[in-house]
Symmetry: C2
Subunit: 218 residues, 2 copies
């Protein structure tokens, strides 16, 4: 599979635009755990994921983290090139949650194409709108949902992403996704265990009753 | 002052695009308190504010409100036309906080122009980026800032918007901006009064010590 097959609007571009992209794009392998993008200090380009998983999160001054969104196969990582849009003025950090392979379009190449091509500019709009929607969902979660519901929803989501009911994730990691302290996660997981929804063993959270966990997330 | 003078990219458009806009745009007067946009059920167009003030907010199922951003003179209200972007999938409500006058570009006209013009599409991108930045600011406020700091910052902002240290706003209205209960606002305002930062009288909050209030907001 090539870049042209993965980039959704490739066929709608002119020959010149296609050539400019193919000429500039590089293929990158990013190791699990690697820092992909480090906020405003950074600006390297637009990533198109072939496979893998990225996590975008924000950090408080005290080092508390909250996951804002995640990217999977075929997703576009736009905020790693947010310097090309003046109005995007916030810090976000992006790391690889799994070994990831992606095409990278350098920021100056993408910006030049976007400024001249309505097709690319509108496509960029749609991606930005998708991330905007992700963030609005997060706002509603934080504002209106109690922590037990957010944790239950997170476990269901993790299970869907990993394709297993046996989740190898630490309480510390969950805390960083949901923006809370490890102790709060541990306490709630123990309550879930009492309710029969999960079983906790060292380094593992096993979902034992999906229906119950699903009910808890609503 | 005309639409052409208020619309920042008017001079960068082709004659045909300028003519299409001038032909379609209508001038609207919106009374204070009026509902401008009511979430996904609604989609009427892009507003360019000549004067006035709009408030965009989200609502919980229980009717609790939180202000997401506000728009002032010369601002563009894009989310009132969010149906033109498939990826924008969230409900927001927009009302007029003051008597407002604005030009309205119908959604089909704006969408057609945006699809063909890179200039308009990129301009739309920048506006969307600005709102995105507003929302990310809100996320950080909610996540990391305690309520006393948020309330102090809100009073400073209100004072700057209204150009007065005598704020005619109810505790209920403040609660709707910040997403909390009226009682919580009243309790914190009384604490601010004890600290000498504000003076409370019926229907009025007077800022008596800006420096102290500013210190409380940090």
């Amino acid at each position: 599979m090539s870049f042209a097959e993965y980039f959704p609007i490739f066929d709608k571009l002119t020959r010149e635009e296609q050539a400019a992209l193919l000429d500039a794009v590089t293929y990158r392998k990013i190791e699990k755990g690697a820092l992909v993008y480090n906020g405003s200090a950074d600006c390297f380009g637009v990533l198109l994921l072939r496979r893998g998983q990225l996590r975008a999160y924000i950090c408080s001054e005290e080092g508390r983290e909250v996951t804002v969104y995640r990217l999977f196969d075929r997703d576009i990582c736009l905020l790693s090139a947010s310097c090309m849009m003046r109005s995007l003025q916030f810090d976000i950090t992006i790391t690889a949650e799994k070994d990831t392979e992606a095409w990278m379009i350098p920021v100056n190449v993408y910006k030049n194409l976007m400024e001249r091509s309505a097709v690319i500019a509108n496509y960029t709009n749609e991606i930005l709108g998708t991330r905007f929607t992700d963030v609005m969902w997060l706002v509603e979660q934080i504002l209106w949902k109690s922590f037990d519901k957010r944790l239950a929803a997170f476990l269901m989501e993790e299970s869907a992403i990993e394709g297993t009911d046996r989740l190898r994730i630490t309480h510390e990691q969950i805390a960083s996704h949901l923006g809370t302290a490890r102790e709060v996660v541990t306490r709630m997981l123990k309550y879930f265990q009492t309710e029969g929804a999960v079983k906790l063993t060292r380094g593992l959270i096993e979902i034992t009753d999906f229906e119950r966990l699903s009910g808890m997330s609503e």
